[in-house]
Symmetry: D3
Subunit: 321 residues, 6 copies
């Protein structure tokens, strides 16, 4: 059954669909009856939900947050649409089509992933190739890599965003590298592939985008370092030891790719490759952020709202052709 999206519900309509239930609260009316207030959400928005004649048992059973099948009816209350919930039953996340609830890239992720692998096929250095192949061969991880967002906020904050961002940075690198012949191509390509790989562990995105405990305590930079060590240890067990200089050079790019201490890089770029990765990553993230901000607001004004992290409004008026 196709999902009826929040932003399509009209007043007085019967509701029989799965929604994400957030922040349920058990309250009592002035007469002392219990009721549950909650938000019902999908990727198009959220509405207030009210379940009258609720019990503490129903409340305790509710996910906080989580998915539930809602039977009820929409109505207008104080000029706002809300949903009166007659019946609520928990739905396991595995039964839910995530696409209805989480924003997702509009690009074809199979195609993007194939192109990422094509670009990585250019790597000639046998050690970096071995590390990259070890990651590509990790099916479970690659599945996450193709699904994860690149961030919770700011840029590429949608399912597939990590892949889209990685794909784009690799393309930019391939285009730019010929102009900087002193830069070691293989290091740049391997590092761009892995620079945000830690986000597969840093973020959860089953219901909404948030940080894992590990992600919040360590961050995706430290996480990536540990993951690369894991793969290198695996290679060593198979008799293919990665030499120290190659490990150091790759790890340094990961550690320094945010470019500044205050952005969480414990090391500043100290190799041509580290500088290039830092710039390509930042450029792609910023242009995605700028595009989202401009596309995400009404085109009535020449200016977007104030963008806090950019310390400016953005100008969207184009020049005459």
């Amino acid at each position: 059954m196709a999902h009826t999206f929040i932003n399509q519900i009209e007043p007085g309509q019967a509701v029989d669909d799965i929604f994400l239930v957030k922040e349920p609260i058990l309250r009592s009316t002035t007469r002392g009856d219990l009721y549950i207030a909650m938000y019902l959400c999908d990727r198009t928005g959220q509405l207030n939900g009210r379940m009258w004649q609720a019990t503490e048992a129903i409340y305790n059973a509710l996910p906080k947050p989580g998915f539930a099948h809602i039977l009820g009816r929409s109505e207008i209350y104080q000029n706002n649409l809300q949903i009166i919930v007659n019946n609520i039953s928990i739905v396991d996340t595995s039964k839910v089509s995530l696409d209805d609830f989480l924003p997702r890239t509009t690009k074809d992720t199979d195609k993007l992933f194939k192109e990422v692998k094509d670009v990585l096929g250019r790597i000639k250095n046998s050690q970096l190739k071995a590390i990259v192949d070890e990651f590509l061969a990790d099916d479970e991880l690659m599945k996450k890599f193709r699904t994860a967002p690149a961030a919770i906020k700011i840029h590429h904050n949608y399912l597939g965003g990590l892949l889209e961002h990685t794909h784009n940075t690799l393309n930019v690198a391939v285009a730019i590298l010929p102009f900087y012949p002193q830069v070691q191509d293989d290091l740049v390509l391997a590092a761009l592939f892995l620079h945000d790989i830690g986000k597969t562990e840093e973020l959860v995105y089953d219901i909404a985008f948030s940080y894992t405990n590990t992600g919040q305590l360590l961050g995706h930079i430290a996480q990536a370092l540990l993951m690369i060590k894991q793969k290198a240890d695996g290679l060593e067990d198979k008799g293919k030891k990665i030499d120290q200089n190659t490990m150091d050079s790759l790890n340094h790019i990961i550690l320094s790719h945010h470019g500044q201490y205050e952005f969480g890089s414990p090391k500043l770029p100290a190799t041509p490759e580290a500088f290039l990765v830092n710039y390509i990553d930042d450029l792609d993230a910023k242009l995605n952020q700028v595009k989202s901000a401009i596309d995400g607001e009404s085109p009535d004004s020449d200016w977007t709202s104030w963008q806090k992290t950019l310390e400016t409004k953005l100008y969207r008026k184009r020049i005459e052709q």
Copy 2:
């Protein structure tokens, strides 16, 4: 007559050549005789020069700094080579082959300039095209554009450096633009061509690299703004008025291309084009700086000396193939 370079002079050799004379001082010996101490320089280094039996008239006639034809002989004094000057005669700068005295790009500037014009030929927007053509048609300015360094220190600090840097940023832009379709290509190309054009007025580089008074008081960003207005006024006089939005969009990129207030940009980037120009400019400057630092020091150590503006040493060891 080919110039004998400073770093090729041996002890006990006759000297009969043009050098850059810097910081001449008139001193008296303990016996009360006057002599002149000075530095004799070219692009390979500098030596102490001593002219005994000097007069105040000779001293007053000396350029401070400037070129002079030196007759004399080299000798060792306290383990250092110096030049005893027997005769000194002023030489007009126009008679001097600047290449012997100022570092110069190793690239073919005619080829670079042709390629710059080719890239600018891609601009379709008639107004931006008109502005760019107005600059290209200014022969005197283009001569400076092909000769000027891009900076006194830090990056592309050699004759032809401005052209080389502009050329490279345009190439990078052409390579990257396909990946950011929302960005207006013509604005980016025109802005990259002009982003440092003010350096033709900001810097002097006839004898050594330094700032003009105007350059030091206004900076090349404000300078570029005034130069663009000059060309636009010229176009208006010819009946081709540039509309306000095009002027504003171009000027905004110039004003914001340093990306941060503390780097002298009075405005922060507020358009996709401004972000892209800021990143491409910075990336090209930094990679040139990193390359110069690595190439400019002895390869005996894996690390360069401390790079103050980068807050790190640079690692030059390459990975095994």
Copy 3:
């Protein structure tokens, strides 16, 4: 007909007057009827307006924002006064007495402007005098100069504020200059007159105070530079070329008058005159801001609310005489 101010309207009163209409929204009631919610404003405040039985055509015709003649009646709704709009007709801005809608200096601007001209009459340097006179002779610009606010927020943010601020800084300069004999008086006076002249182009203030596109993209500092060049070009056309050093010295003060990079100055003060203009400008702006904050809040407390840009509350209790 005298305007009845928002803060004088009583409940149950007939309304027949011009107001500034802001943020009109077309909504439907729970019965499906369309109505328009809007704000009705003048310089004394704003009230909710509701027009029942509205049509899409009426809504589309409304300015967003703009002036309209309102026929209707005031009423209390949920303890708040609102206006029920029976008829709404657009009014051209030219028909409106701006004084009713925008805050305005309490000073006599004719007198202020005359005194500004008197002070500028002290300038003896023929070149600076020529530039200043060129500005004074530009009637259209001087009209704006006498009307513009000095800022949207923070200080002198009312009609005539630019003139009042310029007038005060010139007076302070004349009083202080005798104590700093090394400072070139003419440069200081000319620079203070022109330091914020770009605000005439940076700001719009016909309905409310806001930035023009040019203003937001370039800022008033770059704008002033272009305006001074315009006048100098005009003088050159008339055979009176301003020499480079005078132009540079004046332009440098304009560029550096905010005193710090992070306040949008692309150059730091490098002449005694630039330091003096920076201090006088800042002092006058700050004391106006402090005065407004203290006068603008209830005197019940010894302290004003927290002033974000000053990072402190302000103490308003005076000492005993």
Copy 4:
């Protein structure tokens, strides 16, 4: 006997004069004989001094630093003038004319002090008047006030500098106050008189300019607070208690007069008077610093050397009249 200044000594001249002896070191020659190396200084410069056939006793008796009467002869050694010391005898500081050894204002300090008192005579508020008079009546302190420099480096760093700086800020205040009628004149005048009074205790300037232990540990701001309390306590003992609000308002200006935390102000300005004192103090200090830098270097160049605290070179070229 008039002092022969360091910068007037010629080679081969007999020396019989008092100098400041700095950094004496006892060394042995290659033959094992002891000698003393030292600097001999006055306010015009310093020379190397050498005392051959020295003993440990002579060395131990030397001040480090301090004044001594030197008998000897000047000679050239390796192209530098030095003084061979035949006899050295300690001189008590009280016997020395400090003017020969420390830079001093060129202004008439009696006149300056009289004018300071005249300006302070404008104070009408009886409590502030009482405090100010208590300071003026403290002869010992006023003697220091008339002699102390305003700083060790940067600005007004010469004997009488504190008085000159205070005098100038009071004059500027009197000139500016009419333009800011909301500001309480008496508070500004009293605060300007006392804002740097702590420097009389913070600095020593008997031989050279340096910090006292108390000065370095507490700073002149905290020092001033304690001195004002001392005077207020004295007034209270005489039956003239200063009320809390007056004390707080005055102390607040002292505490905040550096304007920023990083300049050692533990409080930011929070009254109109505190802002005004901060600006006037800073303006006068900066203009004195700029003047000193410009006057202190050779006028051959249009630019001074780099001024670290101002983050710029200074431009000294004046406009044509």
Copy 5:
């Protein structure tokens, strides 16, 4: 009569108790009748209060804020509990049990104070001992010292907090000092006792926690300096003069104990003792702040909300034993 706490009031209950009245406003209903809206508060929370049929005289008599005896009844209005006030009578603060209205340490303050005195008994240096004893002998001050909070927000922000914080820092010092034998114990103990003593004057906490005018204008650091001088002057009057070095060393620790200029310290730590006091103070404040944040929020989540001053959320999940 025991106070009925705000968070225990049920709908429809008679109210007859003392509350803190905050922000009373006199309003008129749509019928023109006057009523008073106010908040009724104690340390457990606040409710809206409404007094119908009010008069201007009643309103004028109300404290703003202050304590009042309220007769009335609770009711639900728009789902929120509020209190209808039938009668209101002012209550003098001295009649009120502050414990019902202000948060208070859960520790036994008599015991804490005794232990503080015990630790201070370790001081052997006669001068520091004299100063400390002078403070301990000031009964009025010690009463405040035992009652004051250590801050309005952030850490130890409850009655007795100053004592609790001081007590804990002294204990930590006694435990750590043996590991740093170069540190002068007596200085550290005396300075820790007095480092926040100025908060007794900086803060008021009779009704709610706020700053005194003196506190806000001077800050507790400057305040402490003046209080120590007061005690030292008292000792000098009794013939026990404290020597300058001891005063300076103690005062320096007070002035620098915030460790950084931007935290209001006009001097940076320059003695081992100053560093130790800075670290112990900061450590104890931060751990108290962290504990409060973790304890103060629901343990449902592994993370607290964002802590602005710490720039992070806090992780509360403990490791398995």
Copy 6:
């Protein structure tokens, strides 16, 4: 044979000893003969060495830097002592008593290490205990742990410094922990033991103190993370898997122990344990730095020289007892 220290060599003395040879340069005299200039060093200082009649072969064989046995004689040249080298033979580092060449803690490292193990014996948590024991059982690593300095400069910059610093921080923790019962002791102790363990890999200290390539590219924080993972992997192989929360909690403290981004911590402290470790580490490092600065300079002055990282001079005068 006991080493004769550099600072004990007298002029004209025969030299027959091992020295550290630094920066050897092959030069030719004015007559064209080759000679080698070098520095000869031990932990007490360095002297110039000159080997006349040198050959390119001798020069090439020299370590740069490294140890060599020197036969020769001391002499005075231009008032400085230097050593004329007659014979030079390379010495393997393993034959050298490092104590003569590198500064070393004065403490008994066996005793310190035993006490560290005693403190770690307090850890009850089985998982943390397992990790700690895994490190303690790694003999090679523990040997480095007992020898390494804690830093190249700033604090504990001598052999054994890492152990001494770790020992002291553990002692401080044991003393403080009772006052903060909410803090998990075991986590603090384990984290303090391991917080700088990465320095065993970050630094080399066989001849002089410097960074390894890995150390400079990754830093000791990232290094520690990888080392802990190595040990945890080893435990997992033995069937003792460390749970994720324990790993995260420990790793978080390591990552955040510098307390600020700009000090190279990619995460800010977010647990009570992380705050405590950050403070104890910083306190111990700073007090060691302060002690070294005070002890390392002549006690003639009350103040040390300017300490750049502390932004102050240090005051060494103690109070009277």
